[in-house]
Amino acid sequence: MALRASIGQYYSASSPLHRLDPRAKLAATVAFMASCFFVHTGAQLVLAAAAVLAAICAAHVPMGRLLSQIKPIALFLVVTSIVNLFFVQTGAVVAAWGPVSIHAGGVEAAVLYTARFFLLLLAGSLLMLTTTPTAITDAIERVFAPLERLGVLVGQASTILSIALRFVPTLSREAEHILAAQTARGADLENKGALAFARACVPLVVPLFSSALRHADNLGRAMDARCYMSGPARTHYHELKLDVRRDGPFIALVAVYLGVLAIL
């Protein structure tokens, strides 16, 4: 599918990273992504890159698949990096052409910000590629379970998340079909002012909404029929148990990484 969104795409394989407890993976990914914002020196950058590289090696996910996940944001990264390059005016002048000059601070920002954002994205993509949506939602549910006592419907929220991930490809395919059908009837979205454009969108948006509602209606009924009552008795297909031999080394490595990053 041309428009096929790659959000939440799981890559089925059996790697050390696939087998990890999703809670450990989720926590480690969040910690790593946060740590990326504290990367300020070259040494730190090398360390973070090494950590991601190690994770990639352990994931057994084809490189093309991984890169295609972050491709949509790559253009954005390039643009921010160029903006940084020319607009950060701190440090010594590295090069200058008339009124335009590049400063050392600009180069640093361009490289550093881009690189760490890139690493952050890679880590997030790795989590999604190596963890099934069910495992992610299970992990979220378990991690946030204490909030249930405060009246937050964590179980329901995680089911909603799982369903949302499930319907991304379905709805994007449907949007494609509707666009094709209306285009064939002469609908045209191009060369129009804002108001005319909004009006031209109606034939696309209305069917898409009605189709989303129809899915919701059908799905609700199907879930009802399968006894979804969101009662407390709900059990889980995948039991989450921290395994010292499987998850222990991973947690230790993450701790070491965070520790070294703080020292550098």
Partner: protein, 615 residues
């Protein structure tokens, strides 16, 4: 197959007693009225009836998704109206719905199958066992870790059945599970259902397909919310006037048997092709007192398609595909101009892509009805979108009525000439009134108001809807499913296209809807419109098309008159099935009755009668 011989005592699993149900206000006509029925353990029941007769409502009352407005519904002795009974009822009477993709709750097959058991609070070890067993039963174990979005409709539906089975139900309620599937998908579902029934699971199956109904031991036929027939399905089909009144049709082989009887041949009234072939062979022998088979070599082998209408030489083709390839990976937007490729790479040079359509070449003469057949994912829909300029080829050219689909200057002209009816076209309805929806196309083409008005009226009438003021002012969303389909079709025909492209136009329709659409296509064809259609029903193809193009894995594997295509033993065709008349011709040959091959029932009947008279 003998009727269910289950003992009648105390084995009833579903019991409805004087059930009334209506949606919305009391003033509305009831969806169901005074329904009384008992379903015994182990039965295989089919529920039939036209659109809006209350079939879906009926099965939803059987697992407490709906609760009767009056009367009682009990499942295994539990009253569906009691809140505490809901969970045990739904566990014991599991349900599978029409739209496979709307039943998948997550992106991994095994996790989806586990959804029911999880809700029932089953310990995780047992869930794993149940998931494995259920997937093995529907022969989907190999896809346990797949994403349902990557599966075909038939495979998804089997996953949905596995999801129901994982709850360990005693009754399986199926609400038109095959309506959106191709022939191969439907026959897989039928096999699974028959196998489950043999294991002792009670089946209640709502269907629009009469051949599926014949496999049941009992048919319940609804007519406007009431039970019009309850008994052996063969008994129902033995009453043609009843079948017509109830908006049903005869199963294909039974239809042929009845036609033969009407023509004076004493054959058994059976829906089984083998039995019918034996019976025809027997009837042809009777009265002749001889058993020798007259074998005419000229009829044993297919004739060449000399009788077939060949387009006038020199006429400009309506649609021409010239060495067309298309790949989703390297496609460019159909709205953009072709640019010289950057970095000197030509598009042809990008070798290792998978093509949705590869080196396809064919020309279709004006006025031809050309059917595209092939398995799911063979490139049929892609070919249709290429013919409508919704996609432009990566290599090669597509001409429609002499206009290159890649030519942006003439795109508007092209849109006027080609109409595109997508799969489930009713899903593209958007306007506040029927009038505005049908007028959308003509207005986009810049038609004047009075011309638009005329086109809207004509198109609606052509689609079998009388364009009254009341209808024109109604919201298309308030119409019935069949009417919505007609309005959507009218929206395409209002543009007066010379070429109409239809992607599975029959999908999801009831027998009346299918017959109506077949008549409409016939009228368009007589008016000289070129029709390109994708179909999964080989009987529809045999009845409608005068040219067939078979695709497999993006390549054209067969192209010719329906006769030539169906008489070839192409492997692809073995999967798609054959028209009923042809299947019967072949079975008759096994019985020693050699006839020239027929593709449609009327032709077969004529040939059988002539064969009988000639001897």
């Amino acid at each position: 197959m003998p009727a269910a011989v289950a003992p009648r005592s105390n084995t009833s699993c579903i019991e409805l007693s004087h059930v009334d149900f209506h949606y919305g206000d009391d003033g509305d006509a009831p969806a169901l009225h005074d329904i009384c029925l008992r379903i015994e353990t182990g039965e295989h029941v089919c529920v039939l009836g036209g659109n809006g007769s209350g079939k879906s409502t009926l099965v939803q009352l059987m697992n407490a998704l709906l609760v009767p407005c009056a009367g009682t519904a009990t499942v295994f002795g539990l009253d569906t109206a009691l809140p505490d009974a809901v969970a045990p009822i739904r566990q014991q009477a599991a349900m599978v719905f029409q739209h496979p993709e709307d039943q998948m709750t997550t992106s991994i097959v095994a996790d989806d199958v586990a959804f029911g058991p999880e809700n029932l609070g089953i310990p995780s070890k047992q869930i794993a066992q149940r998931v494995d067993d259920a997937l093995a039963t529907v022969e989907m174990a190999a896809f346990a870790q797949a994403d349902p979005a990557d599966l075909s409709g038939g495979q998804q539906q089997r996953v949905a059945i596995a999801g129901a089975l994982a709850m360990h139900p005693r009754v399986l309620l199926l609400d038109e599970p095959g309506a959106m599937l191709d022939a191969a998908g439907r026959s897989m579902i039928q096999r699974t259902v028959a196998q489950l029934n043999r294991k002792g699971i009670t089946i209640v199956h709502v269907t629009h397909f009469m051949d599926e109904a014949l496999r049941a031991t009992r048919a319940i036929i609804l007519e406007r919310g009431r039970i019009a027939f309850d008994g052996d399905p063969r008994e129902a089909f033995a009453q043609p006037e009843l079948i017509t009144r109830l908006e049903l049709e005869l199963p294909p082989y039974l239809d042929i048997a009845v036609r033969l009887q009407e023509a004076g041949l004493a054959v058994a009234q059976t829906g089984d092709p083998h039995e019918l072939a034996r019976s025809i062979a027997g009837a042809l022998r009777v009265g002749r007192g001889e058993r020798e088979a007259i074998i005419d070599p000229s009829v044993a082998r297919p004739r060449t398609a000399a009788a077939l209408r060949t387009p006038a030489a020199g006429a400009a083709p309506a649609v021409r595909f010239d060495d067309v390839s298309f790949s989703y990976a390297t496609a460019r937007s159909p709205r953009k101009r072709a640019r010289a490729p950057l970095f000197g790479r030509t598009r042809r040079a990008e070798a290792p892509t998978t093509f949705a359509l590869e080196h396809a070449s064919f020309t279709i003469a004006p006025g031809t009805t050309c059917a595209f057949i092939g398995r799911t994912g063979s490139g049929k829909s892609t070919a249709m979108e290429l013919a409508c300029a919704l996609k432009v080829p990566v290599a090669g050219t597509v001409d429609v009525e002499g206009i290159d689909t890649a030519d942006l200057e003439r795109r508007r002209e092209l849109r006027r000439r080609v109409g595109y009816v997508s799969q489930l076209p009713e899903r593209q309805l958007f306007a506040e009134t029927v009038y505005d929806d049908v007028a959308f196309g003509p207005r986009n083409l810049g038609c004047a108001p009075d011309e638009t008005d005329r086109l809207v009226h004509e198109a609606l009438r052509a689609c079998g809807l009388e364009p009254t003021e009341a209808l024109l002012a109604r919201s298309p969303f308030a119409l019935s499913g069949g009417q919505q389909r007609s309005v959507a079709l009218a929206g395409v025909l209002a543009m007066k296209p010379q070429v109409v492209v239809l992607d599975e136009p029959m999908a999801g329709l009831d027998p009346i809807g299918r017959a109506g659409l077949a008549r409409l296509l016939g009228r368009l064809k007589r008016a000289g419109v070129t029709l390109l259609l994708v179909s999964h029903s080989m009987d529809d193809v045999a009845a409608l098309a005068d040219r067939v193009i078979a695709l497999d894995a993006g390549r054209v594997v067969a192209d010719g008159a329906p006769r030539d295509i169906f008489l070839q033993d192409t492997p692809v065709l073995a999967d798609l099935g054959a028209p009923a008349a042809l299947v019967l011709t072949r079975l008759l040959a096994d019985e020693g009755v050699n006839l020239d091959a027929s593709l449609v029932p009327a032709d077969l009947v004529e040939k059988v009668i002539r064969h009988g008279a000639a001897r």
